[in-house]
């Protein structure tokens, strides 16, 4: 018995030894070799540059963040619709006008869908546009300086969501309203929504050289919700496609009441036709009020102009310009493939994906095969325009992007996955889970005639356990996939800032070459700039005191100022005289009710300070600019309101 026990024990030990040994080998083979391979794919060695830029919307941060791919490293947060104390954007006198609207100064925005400018259907990396959802606006960011240089408000709009998508040659950046509203706004019962509210689709022209924006016309559509949009390209260039929901025109409990119709619409707008109509004097100029804010790079100053009218067009005025394509189940994303032939309606309450054919649409229009009309706009037959259906692809399709090889990639929110499928055969090729509940996805160049492929990243709405916990509030998470093979391969998780909606990405070379290093002092036309010690001065104008100040490693000039009184409004106009790459100086003074200034080489920025207390108050450089940064400081003396302290300033010697 003892012997049997012994031999059993020995056998078990041997078996355990063998099996565990075998296990080790297996797990090594699986995670070891494979994961190091994956790590290599996203590893960008110190000092090396990423291959792609990704511009990821900051959602409710109101900003736009700049990332590198494949590393997932964040390089910059570009302030757009929100005040940004880091640089003083929206706080400095020069940039406060950028956030002006017809509702007054608005310190915050909800940025959604960035889109890079295009030439001949290919992204050219000159400008990037992004929409603000809450107080409808479109911003233009110059990719030479990575700064917001223009913001235009969109009147007659509310929930500026089906925006900001550019046409093939950046003729227009297009902004559609998610919420329909009374146009013009007026005091009326909410229950009278149906038939009375309207949805404005705005075509904002982009001047080719500087990208200046101007609302060319607005199409006043029926009171549906216009959710997302994309331009036609190639053969369908000249058309624009908008998904709609709430064609029920409900104004309350939309989750139920806007989900009753089996099909909503994709609205197809022939903007070339409407453009021709308005160029020939068509349309109605209606009173409106909207701000147009332009940042001038020479004066380093923004100006806000309130516009007073906008040209509107009713679809009925231009027969043949607008059609409705029935699309199942409250479509969300409305995506056009690189050839311009397929229009994908991502019916978010459906398991199937609907794909319309542009050719079929034209044929149906030609044959006048209409199923009826909505407020005079012809509705085409679903079967006539359908190209195909991707059957049972997943649950809750939201958005689709494309690679250069005829494949499409669709996100499914409910089943939390990205599904790769083939254009034309509609077969599902691959599916990969996302963590968790993906919204948009982006492929570099994905919204153009020439997708640049290689990577795809999914932007998820729910983060949960993907990173070390940070309490109840978490940043969102993106996942990067390699799409160069037949199957998608998950490479990397990386956190994103705010709530990214869409993102735009492109190869780095075009932008990298043009990126500006400094602002040339010779081009600085700021009215309060000082270019040398001789220019520095302090000027009193009633209660306003203007300080013409310079910074250079490592001092302010002047750095001793006397003669300021309680009740004065002191303007610190600070010019950074540096002309070397990456030598900013900062400016902060005790009791500043705004933010610091961060001034780039060659730039002038202004901070207003209204001292309330008598004393001698220090100011200093907030950016560790040099070895003597800590010495970069000064004093400003504040005397009582009725004092007679003379206005004097100095640098390097005492005020006598």
């Amino acid at each position: 018995m003892k012997n049997i026990l012994k031999s059993v024990a020995a056998l078990v030990t041997v078996l355990i030894a063998f099996t565990s040994c075998d296990d080790t080998k297996k797990s090594n083979a699986k995670s070891g070799a494979l994961s190091s391979n994956v790590a290599e794919k996203v590893y960008v060695a110190p000092g090396e540059h990423d291959e792609f830029y990704a511009f990821i919307s900051g959602g409710y941060s109101g900003n736009l963040t700049v990332y590198g791919l494949p590393s997932g490293r964040m390089f910059k947060e570009i302030p757009v619709f929100s005040q940004f104390p880091t640089s003083g954007y929206g706080y400095s006198e020069e940039t406060k006008p950028m956030l002006n609207t017809s509702h007054g100064f608005i310190p915050w925005g909800d940025s959604h869908h960035p889109d890079i400018s295009q030439t001949n259907g290919e992204i050219d990396g000159r400008f990037i546009f992004i929409n603000e959802n809450n107080t409808p606006r479109i911003a233009k960011i110059d990719l030479k300086t990575f700064e917001t240089t223009e913001i235009i408000e969109v009147p007659n709009s509310a929930g500026n969501h089906s925006s900001s998508f550019v046409t093939e040659n950046t003729e227009y950046v297009v902004a559609g309203t998610r919420f329909s509203v009374p146009v013009p706004q007026r005091d009326m019962p909410i229950k009278d929504y149906k038939g009375n509210f309207q949805g404005a689709l705005s075509f904002i022209s982009v001047e080719p050289e500087h990208g200046h924006m101007d609302i060319k016309f607005q199409v006043l559509m029926p009171g549906f919700n216009y959710d997302l949009a994309h331009p036609g390209r190639g053969a369908s260039h000249g058309w624009f496609f908008f998904s709609t929901y709430n064609t029920e025109e409900a104004s309350t409990l939309l989750e139920v009441n806007a989900s009753q119709n089996d099909k909503d619409f994709i609205a197809a707008i022939n903007w070339k036709k409407i453009e021709e109509y308005v160029n020939n004097g068509g349309g109605t100029m209606m009173p409106a009020e909207y701000a147009h804010n332009v940042y001038d790079e020479a004066t380093h100053t923004a100006t806000s102009t309130m516009k007073k009218e906008v040209l509107v067009v009713n679809p009925s005025e231009v027969p043949g310009a607008v059609y409705l394509l029935p699309t199942p189940k409250s479509p969300h994303g409305c995506d056009v493939d690189p050839s311009g032939e397929y229009i994908i309606g991502n019916g978010k309450l459906s398991a199937n994906l609907t794909v319309h054919s542009f050719k079929n649409m034209l044929a149906a229009i030609e044959d006048k095969k209409f199923a009826g009309d909505a407020y005079g706009i012809p509705i085409l037959n679903f079967e006539d325009v359908l190209a195909g259906v991707v059957e049972q692809a997943g649950l809750g399709p939201l958005h689709t992007e494309f690679d250069a090889n005829g494949n499409a990639y669709t996100t499914f929110f409910i089943s939390s996955e990205v599904v790769k499928w083939k254009l034309g055969t509609w077969e599902v090729l691959d599916r990969q889970p996302t963590y968790y509940s993906v919204g948009h996805l982006t492929i570099p160049g994905g919204n153009s005639r020439k997708p640049q492929g290689k990577y795809m990243f999914a932007m998820n709405k729910i983060t949960k356990d993907r990173y070390l916990p940070t309490g109840p509030e978490l940043e969102h998470s993106a996942q990067l996939y390699d799409i160069s093979g037949d199957k998608m391969e998950l490479l990397l998780d990386f956190p994103t800032h705010g709530e990214p909606h869409y993102a735009a990405a492109m190869k780095a070379d075009l932008i990298k070459e043009r990126s500006q290093k400094i602002y040339d002092l010779e081009d600085n036309k700021h009215p309060y700039a000082a270019f040398s010690d001789d220019d520095t001065k302090v000027v009193r104008d009633g209660n306003n005191v203007h300080i013409y100040m310079t910074t250079i490693r490592s001092h302010f000039s002047p750095d001793n100022i006397e003669g300021i009184k309680v009740g004065d409004k002191v303007y610190f106009h600070v010019t950074n005289l540096e002309q070397d790459f990456d030598v900013p100086h900062g400016f902060a003074v005790i009791g500043q009710n705004t933010s610091e200034l961060l001034i780039m080489p060659g730039q002038t920025k202004t901070s207003v300070w209204e001292p309330t207390k008598v004393g001698v108050w220090p100011f200093y450089c907030t950016d560790f600019c040099s070895a003597l940064h800590q010495e970069m400081q000064g004093y400003i003396r504040v005397s009582p309101a009725n004092a007679n302290t003379p206005l004097k300033w100095s640098m390097g010697e005492d005020i006598e």
């Binding site: 400094i518 250079i552 490693r553 540096e578 002309q579 070397d580 790459f581 070895a627 003597l628």
Partner: protein, 192 residues
Amino acid sequence: MLLAAILPLGLFLFPLWKITLEAPQYPTPLGMYIHINDFSDANPHDIKNINLMNHYVGMKYIPDAIPEFKIFPAGIIITTIIGLAIAFKGNYKWFLYWFILMVVLSSAGLYDFYIWEHDYGHNLDPKAIMKFTNPDGTQMGFQPPLFGSKDILNFRAHSYPRLGALFLGLGIATSLMAYLVGKKNHKNSLDM
């Protein structure tokens, strides 16, 4: 000899010398070209940035103009005219005199450059923000090398001649060759 006299005019087209300063914070090095009549930036604003760096150790700003910028061009023009006159009128012995003249003047120029460099690197503001001393307790100088490379604090300085200097050198060498060829021809003609 004609060629010899004309070649130094290349100094008006191309820089004579270049000083380059490398440091970790300057992935694109700072650089300054020295022309016969000017200092210029290798990349925009380099001289301004060199001055900014150097003020920490009390070095003077690189001047916009120095007297040499008037003397040197005049010298080159005069020697060229002399060279041309010799080329057309003079005999080969004059080629040698011109050669010697040019070597002497160029050496004087280099010596002048060295004096300026020495002053620039050693004549420091007594109120300099940072004062460095050599191990033996003497004041550390920041003179860039006349020719070659040298470490100065966090910088590595390089100083090398450029195309203009090459033209000058070629001109001088050509005059010597002209002399030797002239001498040989003269001998040959005597022998015949």
